[in-house]
């Protein structure tokens, strides 16, 4: 393992990443052991009650620690559990969570606390957005992916049979508490998958962060100050983009680097996490976005090779052939991409790259070029 670089030296304790969105400003707290002080921090928001939404796996590990901390600070709590896994981002689970929040008599001034990974955060966040037309939300992300991506920025939602995240709302949290120690209990596969989103921030516009990741990825996965730095740096990168474009009318689309491919792969594998989890799809999507950029003559081949080599080294998939059970034909993947929210007037929008740290929004990409590329990749 490489020695710690100067860039990630931090004060002991935790780091605060502010998200100064006018009336919806909030802080992201990043550090080891923050769950133990979550009670007073959440109670300080001034709510009388909280509905904790979690999945059955995370709830068994952490729900009572969190609820106890809230009760010790004078709050009434209820816990609502959903099955673990992407299948809970469904209309049915949404109805169950909304009814659970209402049954717990959560009022507009109370809180919904999302305790879990991306699925729980997206689902509970969406429920908070629509119950009583909006209840305040606290995100307590428990996976690397949720800590560096889904808990930040206010996007919430569920999946439709037409595609991922096609139904949802923008609903900013009032507070995000990212306890990096919780990642210690995360299965290795989930930690690695979340790491794909960390790498993404380097690839978008921060080549030196990508290079730091190349050196430090083992330490990030293992824990320690490198992990805390990677989480805080990812949150800062995401917050900066969200600040420029909260509702994804422009620049925010950069965060979708790799995601048009990833969403199509997830759809092709029926959102079955035994076959592919979101971060794995993103890893393949990042490698594909760079190779597609090379094919279009936009990016030097060695950059795409370096991206794939790094993801390969961490054990993440980088090729369509690595998708267990296959991912359908080029036309099926293309059709799935057309359902992406970023489609406008039938033209496909991709995030492409001129190199590592030099991504950009390419509107009106010709479907034929995508089809030809996918056909080649499937045959490779």
């Amino acid at each position: 393992m490489t020695a710690l670089q100067p860039r990630c030296v931090q004060a002991p304790g935790f780091e605060t990443v502010p998200v100064p969105l006018a009336e919806r400003a909030y802080d992201i707290l990043v550090g080891r052991g923050l769950l133990d002080s979550a009670g007073p921090r959440i109670a300080a928001l001034g709510a009388g009650a909280a509905a904790i939404v979690s999945d059955e796996v995370v709830a068994a590990l952490y729900a009572e620690r969190l609820a106890g901390g809230l009760r010790a600070n004078g709050m009434r709590t209820a816990t609502i559990e959903v099955p673990a896994g992407e299948a809970s981002k469904s209309y049915e689970a949404l109805a169950r969570v909304c009814d659970g929040i209402l049954a717990a008599r959560i009022e507009r001034s109370d809180l919904v606390v999302a305790l879990g990974g991306g699925v729980v955060g997206d689902l509970a966040g969406f429920a908070a957005a629509i119950v009583r037309r909006g209840v305040r939300l606290v995100q307590v992300p428990t996976t690397l992916l949720a800590q560096v991506d889904s808990s930040v920025g206010g996007k919430t939602g569920i999946n439709s049979r037409h595609g991922k995240n096609l139904v949802g709302a923008f609903h900013q949290p009032s507070l995000v508490i990212a306890d990096t120690a919780l990642l210690d209990t995360l299965p290795e596969r989930e930690r690695r998958a979340g790491y794909a989103e960390v790498v993404k921030y380097g690839l978008i516009d921060d080549r030196s962060f990508f290079e730091w990741c190349e050196t430090n990825w083992r330490a990030i996965l293992a824990g320690g100050p490198e992990r805390d730095h990677a989480v805080a740096q990812s949150c800062r990168a995401k917050a900066a983009v969200v600040l420029r474009d909260e509702r994804e009318d422009g620049d925010r689309a950069l965060l979708n680097l790799g995601h048009t491919f990833a969403h199509a792969l997830e759809r092709a594998t029926a959102y079955d996490s035994r076959r592919l989890v979101h971060g794995e799809a993103v890893a393949a999507g990042l490698a594909l976005a760079f190779r597609f950029s090379v094919k279009l003559g936009l990016c030097p081949g060695q950059h795409a090779g370096r991206v794939a080599a790094h993801l390969d080294a961490t054990g993440l998939p980088t090729r369509l052939q690595q998708v267990p059970g296959g991912c359908g034909t080029a036309d099926e993947l293309l059709d799935a991409m057309r359902q992406d929210k970023k489609v406008k007037d039938g033209a496909l929008t991709f995030i492409l790259a001129r190199g590592i740290g030099q991504s950009f929004i390419a509107r009106a990409v010709a479907p034929d070029a995508v089809r030809a590329f996918l056909t080649e990749e499937l045959a490779a």
Copy 2:
């Protein structure tokens, strides 16, 4: 029938009620025959496609006229039908409408058009708010209730088993087209029910409008310029309140005059429109709110008597005993009220009145006072 009062003389054609909400400003057009020019007016919003959401009854009457007008103006259309009635404000119907909009490949820059009464407007509006995290919306209300109330102001939502409209979103339309001629095909009962919301605006803060209604209610129900005036005046009144308080943090609650009682009655009758439709519940709620104000010593008895007498004259219910099949016990009604979105820290908020046109928000009404009043009313 009384002669037309000077106050409701208007230019021929239609009236435009502006709702100047900063970035979300829109117009409400009110007049006879507007459906025939809806095509060019909606196409002028610049969308390439529209999903028309309607119920099976309204769709049979008007969907093709509307769709034809849109297609003649270069738009692609799809029509999504739901069963008529309050039961369509459900999680299941919401899922069906969202998937229907996605199946029609409606993009963010396209439109959802709600063609129908309050149920369709609330359901389609909510679907528009959450599909792709927000698609533009046009309201084409076809009932008196929808024209004077639910199509204006951006509240959308569905019912939960815990109460009415407990799940939803604020989503302002881009345009509202209220063709008052469509009310000619409305069943008498629906027209009368919608009239309760018209009367409400007078009771809130416009005594002279209430008195004009007392004189002109038959003409409003029958059609003609009095109807157009009543609709436009109601929209103006509602728009003025919404402008002051878009998200119901304050004054907007005045629009709930009669509604805390009404929602409890609708819940007690299991949202069964054969027993009670929303406007009927509102009529009873208005009479109850005035009598409750009298009981609390806030309002002269003759004002409550005059309100009830007018609603009685139009054939609307004004007493709990008139609810077909009964409405449960005082405690059951109180429990339903506690689930109202306006509850804060367990205290009940009511809109009460010091007289006709003098309503106000009463926070922290003691549950015991409500229980005693309901018990009296049930025994009356």
